[in-house]
Amino acid sequence: MSALLDVQNLKTYYFARRGVVKAVDGVSFSIDQGETLGLVGESGCGKTMTCHSILKLLPKPGGRIVEGQVLFEGEDLVLKTERQMRRIRGAKISMILQDSMTSLNPAYTIENQVGEVFAIHQKLKGRALKEKVIEALKLVKIPAAETRLRAFPHQMSGGMRQRVAGAIALGAKPSLIIADEPTTALDVTIQAQYLNLLKEIQAETGVAMMFVTHDLGVVARMCDKVAVMYAGRIVEKAEMKDLFRHPRHPYTIGLLACLPKMDAELDKLVSIPGQPPDLGALPDGCHFAPRCPECMEICKQKYPEERLARDEHYVSCWLVEK
């Protein structure tokens, strides 16, 4: 059985005046039908560029996919034309972004924005369109959906706006949703509501999700699988619980250890020294080597290829025996 989305050795570079930024440098992962993958990493690690590569929404000029395949339902999206991609975006793969203040257009009503998907992909008009919009708003549990149609984004709260963004993403019944930090801008109690909502919708519709986040709490709550990204590459990927229980890559271990806990008094946090590297000037060898507490001679010379640590648990680290 083949995966819904299978990204193979994807490389997306950004060509700037000062040189090449290797934003995504050989990333592979897959998502099955109805599954949720968490892509974890810090800002500037290339996770957003990875999402944009899948939908081929790269910054122009300068960004391009240099190598690799993005197999979606068996077809390679890298080879698709812009026209073909437009039929996939929104209809088969859609996106929820972090900031609903900017991801919704302030000049249009909710009805207009949610309706756009149906107007484009299903060529609906008039009554039928309006009913579809209400249906979509009800799916994301917006109270009194009928009365919200004429509202503008600024008249709604952050949580409600993010639901509208969800309605737009889910409207055309896509098989994959890419959620890029969807709850980062929300308050704690609203975040809990929203995550619950996404889980319910997933159970109902069987949509697969790719959750891009820096928040390990969100991952622990939402995902089946996790891929940890550092400086343009995936350093570790595994089943979610397996990764939390037995992290193998020093970066993952550090990331888990440096978080303060809700349920324990701590004297001092373990911290990862240094700063994330500049993607335009990566160190030779393993990208994490300069910050790694267990750095060896070989780490400074050669990037470790991916190896299997245990069932379905892949790590790119010299410490792990092949």
Binding site: E42, S43, S157, G158, G159, M160, D187, V188, T189, I190, Q191, A192, Q193, L195, N196, H214, D215, L216, G217, V218, A220, R221, M240, K241, F244, R245, Y251, G254, L255, L256, C258, L259, P260, K261, M262, D263, E265, L266, K268, L269, V270, S271, I272, P273, Q275, P276, R291
Partner: protein, 322 residues
């Protein structure tokens, strides 16, 4: 009570909502902060938590005298800061410093790091050029920046390093109290622990007092000795950090704690997901402001505002249940 450094007494801030084209007049008031009281003792970290719009940032602006309070008083070592003279104000400006959330907007891009750190010393007068130079070098060293970084501009540093510069600047005039407004939330996960540890270490070394604002409860737990929980411009509960986390008294605190996602999938928790959204501070609900969302609401809650109940020496809660 002579170890109290700062006492906030019934402080209130109402912003007018103006309407009209030619002659503007207020048509309502945003009750951003509505009569809150707390005190901060020497050497402790007082954490203020709450969701966006609860008034925690306004509270710090009032303490920093960046906004004028509508009502109430702030006592600094026993004197009211709203009515201290010029020299008193100068002393207050020395004694109270701040570190803000966004290290990109909090450092003037056109000033060298040295000048940024020097600024509070210049306005204080009474320091010779040489003394200031020495103090700058000292502060850079204390926050772990290389001695030469003074002659660089902020944009040459990463987010974490910039936050170190901001801390160095706050340290420069030997303050008694530092206000930390979301000091780590804009930083990368792997860098947060560094900054939190730095802040704790400086506190131990110099006997600093912190007032910290954060929305990340785990961060607050790690940093604070005492915590105040705000909801819609009111303080609903205060208590010592571990008491409050282990045994929350106010239903809102309880819900807030349960909504925060544990960073490990194996952590068990009982989840209370609040319904609805935070009401607008323009027209807050009658009685207890939390009653429309409160899972334990009683009849009395909707029409009588609860008064503060002192549970233990260090424990206060504003709720009809107690």
């Amino acid at each position: 009570m002579n170890d109290t450094i700062l006492e906030v007494k019934g402080i209130t801030k109402h912003y007018p909502i103006v309407a009209g084209v030619v002659r503007t007049k207020p048509i309502g008031w945003v009750k951003a902060v509505d009569g809150i009281e707390f005190s901060i003792r020497k050497g402790e970290t007082f954490g203020l938590v709450g969701e966006s719009g609860c008034g925690k940032t306004t509270t710090t602006k009032l303490i920093l005298l960046l906004e004028e309070a509508t009502e109430g008083a702030i006592m600094f070592r026993g004197t009211d800061v709203f009515s201290i003279g010029r020299s008193g104000l100068r002393e207050y400006r020395r004694a109270v410093q701040a570190v803000f959330q966004d290290p990109f907007s909090s450092l003037n891009p056109r000033m060298k790091v040295r000048d940024i750190i020097e600024e509070p010393l210049v306005t204080l007068h009474g320091f010779s050029k040489k003394q200031r130079e020495e103090r700058i070098a000292e502060c850079l060293d204390q926050v772990g920046l290389p001695p030469g970084s003074g002659s660089n501009y902020p944009h040459e540093f990463s987010g974490g390093q910039r936050q170190r510069i901001a801390v160095a600047r706050a340290l420069a005039p030997n303050p008694d109290l530092i206000i930390l407004d979301e000091p780590v939330s804009a930083l990368d996960v792997s860098v947060r622990a560094q900054i939190m540890n730095l802040l704790k270490e400086l506190q131990d070394r110099f006997g600093l007092t912190y007032l910290m604002i954060a929305h990340d409860l785990a961060v607050v737990r790690y940093m604070s000795t005492r915590i105040g929980v705000m909801y819609l411009g009111k303080l609903v509960e205060t208590g010592r950090s571990e008491d409050l986390f282990n045994d929350p008294l106010h239903p809102y605190t309880e819900a807030l704690l349960s909504a925060a996602l544990p960073t490990h999938p194996d952590t068990s928790r009982n989840e209370i997901v609040l319904t609805g959204e935070v009401p607008s501070p323009v027209d807050p609900p009658s009685g207890c402001r939390f009653h429309p969302r409160c899972p334990k609401a009683m009849d009395i809650c909707s029409h009588i505002e609860p008064v503060l109940a002192r549970m233990e020496p260090d424990r206060e809660v504003v709720c009809h249940l107690w």
